[in-house]
């Protein structure tokens, strides 16, 4: 997934973008739990939750198709496991795995593409996530830009020379990592030179307003209620 695109999305303006990161983190966590623990009437419940997320994407003014497609990035992994479940004679479990992982990915995507990453990580920090973990995520995020760009350069260069076969691609990947590593060192040096002391200074800390509390309450309750109602109706 292109980090640059997510970054661009996260900097757009909408009601969802304006909410305090902590409110969105809470909403996303509740949603993940609701999805993960859904059991009876899974199909209609999934459909309901899916529509709920689509509504979120629309409110956030994100391109619906683009977002739905990008959340599919998890599918190759889960499809593999689903196939294993199917072969083991438990196809239903495979289906549930696919639905749940896709919905989870879409929920996380919605959160990430409505909150610029520095603000999001600061939100996690303020609700008590370990600093070290956040540091690693921040670096990963910074280097992701560098690595994807390197990869783009290399794939362009390869395309100019008539494409890349598997073995060449594997070799290129190795070079990509080596280059990225040495560039990561250079970046770290540049950061130190500009006074970096281990903490990224994101945007000013936001205040948790009444609107954020209201949003958090609504966004946390909605998927839960949705699931309970659909389960009741389906039963």
């Amino acid at each position: 997934m292109q980090p640059a695109l997510l970054d661009r999305w996260s900097r757009q303006a909408s009601i969802l973008h304006r909410r305090d990161p902590r409110a969105k983190i809470a909403a996303a966590l509740v949603f993940l739990v609701v999805v993960a623990t859904a059991q009876p009437a899974l199909l209609p419940v999934s459909a309901g939750l899916f529509l709920f997320l689509c509504a979120g994407l629309v409110v956030a003014r994100l391109p619906l198709g683009g977002a739905l497609l990008r959340a599919g990035i998890v599918l190759p992994f889960t499809l593999t496991f689903a196939a294993i479940c199917w072969m083991a004679g438990d196809p239903w479990r495979g289906v549930s795995l696919i639905l749940k992982s896709y919905l989870s990915a879409l929920a996380v995507l919605l959160m990430v593409s409505t909150t610029p990453l520095p603000g999001l990580l600061r939100g996690f920090e303020r609700i008590g996530a370990p600093r070290f973990l956040l540091m690693v995520s921040q670096f990963l995020y910074r280097y992701l830009f560098v690595i994807t760009e390197q990869a783009q350069h290399m794939s362009k260069a390869a395309a100019c020379r008539g494409g890349m076969r598997f073995r060449a691609a594997a070799g290129a990947l190795a070079v990509l990592f080596a280059r990225s590593y040495s560039q990561a060192e250079d970046i770290h040096r540049a950061m130190l030179s500009r006074g970096f002391e281990g903490r990224f200074h994101g945007p000013e800390d936001t205040r948790f307003r009444a609107a954020d509390a209201l949003f958090a309450a609504a966004a946390c309750c909605a998927p839960l209620l949705l699931r309970l109602v659909i389960e009741r109706v389906a039963a």
């Binding site: 760009e149 040096r189 500009r194 200074h201």
Partner: protein
């Protein structure tokens, strides 16, 4: 003239045993521009990395009256603005403005103040129009300007530039020279381009095997080491 930088008898050996610096004595006066010339591998970059504590050798270094010691590091890095050869590694934030704000934020300035300084610095280098763009989409010359803006935003007293003309076409080199001439800070300029050095520097020193073997005007040194400089040009 007040000395802003004083280096005495600096020695350094890389972890693999390569003796990179073998007794460097160097002084930089306020507002002065000095060109560092010398063959590939003569120790120029290694020397620069000592000036803000990225590497630590034996000998003494004083920056604006402060000894190169851990407690002074923060203040020293605020005084010395380091522009690396590879702008790719120097620009690591998602947007140009974020990038130039990185230094001031690390210096403890508020987001509003950092943005103000960032914009002013972009104005100085003629890149204000690119504030919202992604750094990795800029041309080489534009990247170099933004990298310089990122340093200027920290309000340094000394600018250190490692081969700033690499990747720049002749008009880009001229534009860079015009920009640098306008900046009042003392400068250390590593370059293989004798003409560029001549246009900007008050004097030059020549590095050879980790030592300064000659000192004088750029013309003198270029004549004396003509063979070396031409070799560099041909590479």
């Amino acid at each position: 003239m007040k000395a802003v930088l004083e280096v005495r008898n600096l020695h350094f050996r890389y972890a693999d045993g390569t003796p990179a610096l073998n007794g460097i004595d160097f002084t930089l006066a306020e507002g002065e521009t000095v060109a560092l010339l010398g063959a590939n591998g003569s120790g120029k970059t290694t020397f620069l990395m000592h000036l803000n504590g990225l590497l630590t050798g034996e000998g003494s270094i004083q920056v604006c009256g402060m000894a190169m010691e851990k407690p002074n590091l923060r203040a020293i890095r605020a005084k010395i603005g380091m522009v690396f050869q590879d702008s790719e590694s120097q620009l690591f934030m998602p947007t140009v403005l974020d990038d130039v704000m990185f230094g001031p934020l690390n210096q403890g300035r508020s987001a509003a103040e950092a943005a103000k300084r960032g914009r002013a610095a972009l104005e100085t280098v003629g890149m204000a129009h690119a504030a919202g763009r992604a750094p990795y989409h800029l041309s080489a010359g534009e990247k170099k300007r933004v990298a310089i803006a990122g340093i200027l935003a920290m309000d340094p007293e000394i600018l250190v530039l490692d081969e700033p003309t690499t990747f720049l076409d002749p008009p880009g080199q001229r534009a860079l020279a015009d920009l640098l001439v306008r900046l009042p800070q003392a400068k250390i300029l590593v370059t293989h381009d004798a003409r560029f050095a001549q246009a900007l520097s008050h004097r030059a020193v020549f590095f050879q095997s980790g030592k300064i073997v000659a000192e004088g005007s750029v013309e003198e040194l270029a004549r004396r080491f003509a063979w070396d400089l031409e070799m560099e040009g041909a590479r």
